[in-house]
Symmetry: D2
Subunit: 354 residues, 4 copies
């Protein structure tokens, strides 16, 4: 796996800069003869789209994909599926002053160190606009596991947490602009975000994922464990800071007798500290992990920043940015999960010959 | 990258089961003409070796490696470096009863689901004995970055944390059997571990890593970010539950104005919430991350377990196990860090032609 | 390397079907800060373009590429370079009768066996139209080796061979519609091709390549030898039947004392039976190899063919086809050579640290 | 795929120098639950072993492999299969004078250019001793395709060719020391080889391969065609000069109407110019290709050679060398064929979901 390609059997190669003509990708290794549900793809892109609610950025993109290959008469052919999403609402001039200034918490400084020459407009290749490619590809990948359900939702924004006893169905998640499926918690979070927007500030949060119906045996021993690749996938998402499988950081304080999941019968366990993975391989029980996002780095509040000459300058980042990336990150987390799972699913077809 | 191979340019391929004749590996992509310090390698293996102190397992292994290729007259040749570590202290009969029983928190169940046929003795391929291969290879990788210092240490065992204001040098770490470099904290942790051993129980913890002297520009955009690959590497280590870069899970509660690292001058920042990585690429400042380990799953205390027929049985795991894996995990975390950094270092030589 | 991706450091991923909306590709791993000569790219595409002379197919394509990413202000940024070439002159109805008939010498039969569902129009993904992607990418790759000259030319068409003592410069090659740089041989070949076109038949041939200025040290030992990867690259080109390095098939009849290239001095050798490669690695002397192409499989003459039910049917392939693919294969061979050489050049930067 | 690893799903990683302690390899991706026939492996190693007849080198190696992992109770476990072959009959002092002299037709010069520092003894890593690893791994790979028969044999030595109408069964091949299955042709070749040995000279030749029972659908479109990977595999074998699929170089002189294989019925074709591959994918008919080997470069006859300072010196290569590598290359060609076919077979399990 290299920089702009993800996966081993199902391989997504992407391209595109925030303010270039288009972003897009090539999904290779997709099996033949699968009917493609284009509405499902559009629906997922709409869930990620900026401008969808009061809690997100005002930049709008139609995000209408063009499919260029790999699908014939509505079904996949086994050839690579290539797609394009044109960039529409570009305000590159918003970024002119950023040609020589490194925004705090952004890749401006490190891309310059690495490449010398870079497209500075809107972060160029490092922009989260790239995640639209992943959402599209993830929606394709989901076609390969029709019996699996991936449920991603916001479980924390700032200090506001989804109550541990919250009861909700997958369909409830999108009823809340924060994607935190609880009326009181979500309202509080919306208020918090509105306040911070007012102040030109931002806040972090967490996304939780639960996967139901995953077959046992997915994941590879040693260097390609299911949770290792999920960690890799999640840490590729812009602004992530932590990955936790099952018990996560809480495991540090626990006893073995408390942490080992005890069976009541062959299907039932009182706890899921393993997160559905044992030795890097899915157990067939619920897969559960969490991803932490930092607060949006682009804030209107004035900050100190370095410029290309190493001077400290004052900077208030203009442009249109989410005060909290978590609600729109939910479909991105979901998409990366699909890409990982579908890849392992295909890879798993070769471990025994029967 | 596939199951038993790690890295893209510097590639480690490993093999071996806990109770087979030997474990070993092949390190490919290692540049030519590097003088190899074999004492450095043996020293790192000794740091990982079981039986080194009261807080670790009583299983002892001489762990004397045999080098089979790739080094000629004391220097690397560019050919793959192959090495073997024979398994000496095997008590396979300890494991006879485990042929049909799946130990809680272990890979027994999932390997059976995936492969049908497995070497059940001591976990076979899934045993942490494999990490000796990584420690050896990591010590080789370290030769490629002579100006970089990787410092790994225990920062939490159970509820006992290394004080935030602890001051210590790299040489202090191994003075403490827990590798938590603080006299009071380490003593408390030793006591806790002794108590748990007595009770046939175990406890989790955390390892912190700080890397000094890393050049800017390591890491690749999009799917091969430095912290994504570090996350991947750390989650391949047995018993890990969480990976946190910089601010980690704390970022969820923070404001952008608080989280963005502010420059005082071109070299000095008051905080390191980025953990030394921006947009997936090293900034040239200190790299900082933490890894959470679960409590050892193999405990003497009686637990419920599943057998191969799906029945719930009582199980007290015999054999010799660390009540807390964290102290011996420290050199493993360090080794995986070296493998990641050296690989990116080599990869980075191709991004510009000058 | 997988199906639709070529290379390890410089990686080309392609997509597109002959009669779909577009073909295109993503070239990843291209170093930053290289000024791109778009005229050079267009010139190479024009050399491959159908309809350029009497000896080629009448299908015409403007083949005007659109660049979507990776180039900013005329220079590469290190981000993947994505490009599109729209399909213009599609006469899909020419292919309607081929939905259920397998053209002899074509992939129709095997794609159906492999995938079940396929885009049958013009060969779909298996069409040589794909080679336009390679020519474009090869022209980009050539930017990385400014001091190297790749010279490809026709050395045989049917039984007509380029005389062994032919003297010509690189600029002479394109003066001949056959790209066989010799007035008499080329005229004979043109006549032969005209005759065969008349008869609805076709003929094979050979392309020779000589590379001047290649540095020593390119190629990797064992499984990634320079000539092994060149062989791989050449055998990916549609209609190729043989790859020969240096002495090629003639070596079978030779003595060792005759075959070993003898030095006159450190730079001068009387023969080049090695073809510029020793042990899989370039010697710094002229690289020389040949590629054999079969006669075009699509001929107007009536032939026997299988249909999807296994019946033998009569078939005269309609559509517009080159009676000899060799002249237009020359820039394709050249492009694949560039992709291989540039990849090894980048890879070679990591074998020693100085 | 990188230098010392071959394959994508079934991946062989090898190591070892001719005069180091051992050679060996790791075969990863081998499915679980396959009973291993160790006699079959030993038999193939014996076929490659030096010193087996008058036509081969006098160097003898017991070549008794040690298996270190991946097999438990006689069956594969899905873990990597590691093996070692100790080097026994090393006469390193034969090579002392070669430390500073580059043997013509060998990798001495190019390894020095690439790596600076090398193990010069017996060619080190570039020695054909490495092929013992391939033969072993190939014999393992053959377990995955029990219904396929790979038949490799000598079809040319010097100007002596196997008659086109020779009739023989697979079992006949090893009855001839030349592995050219024809009494007269083989006797002539033996005489030729004996003469050349006397003269301190050597000769080239060709190996033909026919594969029966291969399923349709193996091979991947575009960059991973079955014959492209076979070409790659064959050109990795020491001393190979040419790869020809089906009609090979003869295709250059042929007409399309003559070259296209015409069906008599759904199973029967009068010719096999395609060599069993269409569009890079197996048709299910006989796979047929040929590999050309150059004459052994190490000859006792005095030759001119370069030394490390660029001087021309006289050199008569001492040591024990085959005057013709072709007979012992037969099992090597066969092994590489198995590695390619088994890899594609596993890869092919993922192209459709049913």
């Amino acid at each position: 796996m290299m920089s702009n390609t993800f996966g081993r059997i199902l391989r997504l190669t992407t391209f595109g800069e925030s303010h270039g003509p288009a972003i897009g990708g090539v999904l290779d290794g997709f099996p033949a003869d699968i009917s493609i549900d284009f509405n499902r793809i559009r629906h997922q892109l709409a869930r990620r789209r900026p401008g969808q609610s009061a809690v997100t950025t005002a930049r709008t993109e139609a995000d209408e994909p063009e499919f260029l290959s790999g699908v014939f008469e509505g079904k996949s052919t086994g050839a690579p599926i290539a797609f394009l999403i044109r960039n529409a609402d570009k305000r590159s001039t918003d970024y002119d002053e950023l040609r020589q200034v490194f925004r705090p918490g952004h890749a401006d400084e490190t891309y310059t160190a690495k490449y010398g020459h870079r497209d500075h407009r809107g972060g160029g290749r490092s922009s989260a606009r790239e995640t639209a490619n992943w959402v599209l590809a993830g929606a394709l990948a989901a076609h390969l596991l029709p019996d699996v359900r991936v449920m991603a939702y916001t479980c924390q924004i700032g200090d506001i947490r989804l109550p541990a006893d919250a009861v909700f169905s997958p369909d409830d998640i999108d009823k809340y602009p924060t994607r935190m499926p609880h009326p009181i918690a979500s309202s509080s979070a919306e208020e918090l975000i509105a306040d911070l927007k007012e102040q030109g500030d931002s806040v972090g949060g967490k996304v939780a994922v639960r996967v139901i119906g995953l077959p046992a045996g997915l994941g590879e021993p040693i260097f390609d464990k299911l949770h290792a690749r999920l960690a890799h996938a999640m840490m590729t998402i812009n602004a992530t800071r932590a990955f936790e499988i099952g018990s996560g950081t809480r495991a540090a304080s626990m006893r073995g007798s408390e942490h080992n999941d005890m069976p009541a019968d062959s299907q039932t366990f009182a706890t899921n500290h393993s997160g559905g993975v044992l030795g890097g391989i899915s157990s067939g029980r619920e897969l559960a992990f969490e991803v932490t996002f930092k607060p949006t780095a682009s804030i209107a509040k004035e900050q100190k920043a370095l410029d290309a000459e190493g001077n400290v300058v004052d900077l208030a980042v203009r442009g249109r940015h989410d005060p909290c990336v978590v609600p729109r990150a939910v479909p991105v987390v979901e998409a990366m999960t699909w890409l990982v799972l579908a890849d392992f699913y295909l890879l798993n077809r070769i471990h025994t010959l029967y």
